[in-house]
């Protein structure tokens, strides 16, 4: 199932599942990630699943590349039962104030704001991975009609909760952070809550995400709760 295993420096293993980005390959990555997480192999300090790679970081005092690689190769990964994630519905406000890049996208695709937002809302998204900044979900795939490149010059500050699109993906900024994605709206939900020790991230790899639109007055109500 893993196409290639190599070392990434002296304290990590790089498992390559292929070069394409699709849900089939990513589901395999997530499956391996979950099995390895449960196995809790000696010396393993971190697991990083992404679209089509899995990186395993380890403590050189406890194990090493050759030993751990062999352990992984000897393990059985019952890949058949497909991982089923949670279904989560995310509120999103597309008020002018929040959809800061919409005018540029309207111009680029010669479509109205409504058309663009509807194309966005009419899809189910799959969470490929979380990361970059804590809890940030990488969701896909966007409708081909609204796929576009990153901003040429990234913003220094993207507000927390912003929903951005780029290429075939969509993400949600869990903190105010620099970023180059095209922002079309904002969610009032707290997508990453460090105070929730058991499950700080609302969205995990493998989850199925949909968005629904809320008005500005409903948006502000979320904060009152």
């Amino acid at each position: 199932m893993i196409k290639n295993i190599v070392n990434l420096g002296d304290a990590a293993i790089y498992c390559d599942f292929g070069s394409d980005v699709n849900q089939e390959i990513n589901s395999k990555v997530i499956k391996y990630f979950k099995i390895l997480k449960d196995k809790n192999l000696k010396g393993v300090t971190n697991l990083s699943p992404s679209y089509n790679k899995l990186i395993i970081t380890f403590d050189l005092n406890e194990t090493n590349y050759d030993y751990l690689k062999q352990e992984i190769l000897n393990m059985s990964f019952n890949i058949k039962n497909k991982h089923i994630g949670q279904k989560i519905n995310i509120p999103m406000c597309c008020d002018e104030e929040f959809s800061i890049d919409i005018q540029r996208i309207e111009k680029k695709f010669q479509k109205s704001k409504n058309e663009i937002i509807n194309l966005f809302l009419n899809k189910n998204y799959f969470c490929y991975m979380t990361g970059f900044i804590a809890g940030m979900p990488f969701l896909g795939d966007l409708d081909k009609k609204i796929q576009l490149d990153r901003l040429e010059t990234p913003r220094v500050k993207v507000p927390k909760g912003s929903i951005g699109i780029t290429e075939q993906f969509c993400n949600i900024y869990t903190y105010e952070s620099p970023g180059g994605w095209n922002i079309i709206g904002k969610t009032p939900l707290n997508i990453f809550d460090p105070k929730n020790k058991k499950k700080p991230n609302l969205i995990s790899p493998g989850d199925q995400i949909t968005f629904y639109e809320i008005k500005k007055n409903e948006f502000t109500k979320f904060y009152d709760k």
Binding site: V6, N7, L8, G9, D10, A11, A12, Y14, S19, V21, F33, K37, T45, N46, L47, S48, P49, S50, Y51, N52, K53, L54, I55, T57, L60, N61, N64, Y65, M129, T130, G131, F132, I133, A134, G135, M136, F138, T174, Y175, S177, F192, P194, K197, P200, N201, S204, P205
Partner: protein, 321 residues
């Protein structure tokens, strides 16, 4: 009165927070997959020595500071502190005399004393430990701070001017002193990265032969370098994938960035190389403006060098009685 149950009210008042002063320990494991880096003390060896000299547990929290450290005024009963690294600091006694501080040595401070950590010297990071330790809560089983995600003690923040730092009851802390020289490193040793072949022959040759300058855009997240441009002949982007500390990635502008302890967990720039674990503590101590050179080595050598480095660290720690 039962001394065991007596909770101390000893504390520090932060007069000046300094440039980037945070609580750190050995780092936080198993959270890469939700986007949290390892964090922890940048220079692990000096962190371990700070705790050992003060007679605290090996993974107790210390204050790590960068370049300019904090200025702290102490209120409480006399107790010991230790500062490790290559650090200029002063102790201003309550009776107004001023003493220059000495690193790697227990120093007794009294009520009303001020510790002024002026600067690190030809290095970046220093460590401050106190007898009994700081009164903090662990977050995900760690005292490490990741300021970008606001995760860790002190609400995940740097030390701020005017805040207070509460302390635990003091433990037994005998006088201890260590003679140690923080040796400089000539080369940063590197294992080829997974995208090494994305770069032109000339560029990979330059990478292992030319000087690269450590720029001011360097912090706990990463070290930005400036030098011979590394030409990517394949693709300046890869599909975003996991990152680990020590990764040397090269964005489209051809200037390498070494990812350090607070790095973003996912990224899409090609990885030309990986700095070896044995050189990490020394790498992070190289101040902006310095020049570094990379040297290629094989995995087996890197593993052996790490064993040696770890043995050397343990030898230093064992010298402390």
């Amino acid at each position: 009165m039962n001394l065991q149950n007596f909770m101390t009210n000893d504390y520090f008042k932060v007069i000046r927070g300094g440039l980037n002063s945070t609580f750190q320990d050995n780092g936080r494991e198993n959270l890469y997959h939700i986007g949290l880096p390892f964090s922890g003390a940048m220079d692990r060896r000096n962190f371990l020595i700070a705790n050992k000299l003060i007679n605290n547990d090996k993974n107790d929290a210390v204050i790590e500071f960068a370049l300019q450290g904090p200025q702290l005024k102490y209120f409480g009963e006399s107790r010991n502190i230790v500062i490790t690294g290559n650090v200029n600091f002063k102790i201003l006694k309550n009776n107004k005399t001023q003493n220059n501080g000495e690193c790697y040595k227990t120093i007794e401070i009294d009520d009303g004393d001020t510790i002024d950590i002026v600067s690190t010297n030809k290095s970046v990071y220093g460590y401050f430990s106190i007898n009994g330790g700081f009164k903090l809560d662990k977050v995900w089983n760690s005292y490490s701070t990741t300021t970008r995600a606001k995760v860790g003690p002190n609400n995940g923040d740097k030390l701020k001017d005017g805040q207070e730092i509460l302390l635990n009851n003091p433990n037994h802390s005998p006088f201890r002193k260590l003679n140690i020289l923080n040796s400089k490193i000539e080369f940063i040793r590197v294992i080829k990265g997974t995208n090494f072949d994305y770069f032109s022959k000339q560029s990979t040759k330059d990478f292992f032969s030319k000087n690269y300058e450590v720029t001011k855009l360097t912090d706990r997240m990463g070290m930005r370098l400036n030098g011979s441009r590394l030409n990517n002949i394949k693709d300046t982007n890869i599909k975003s994938e996991g990152l680990v500390k020590g990764t040397i990635q090269v964005p489209a502008d051809g200037q390498p960035i070494i990812l350090l302890s607070d790095h973003g967990t996912i990224g899409g720039y090609p990885k030309i190389g990986m700095t070896i674990s044995a050189d990490y503590d020394k790498l992070v101590q190289i101040p902006p403006g310095s020049k570094i050179k990379f040297k290629e080595i094989e995995l087996k050598d890197a593993e052996n060098l790490y064993k040696l480095y770890d043995m050397e660290t343990n030898n230093i720690l064992n010298k402390v009685l």
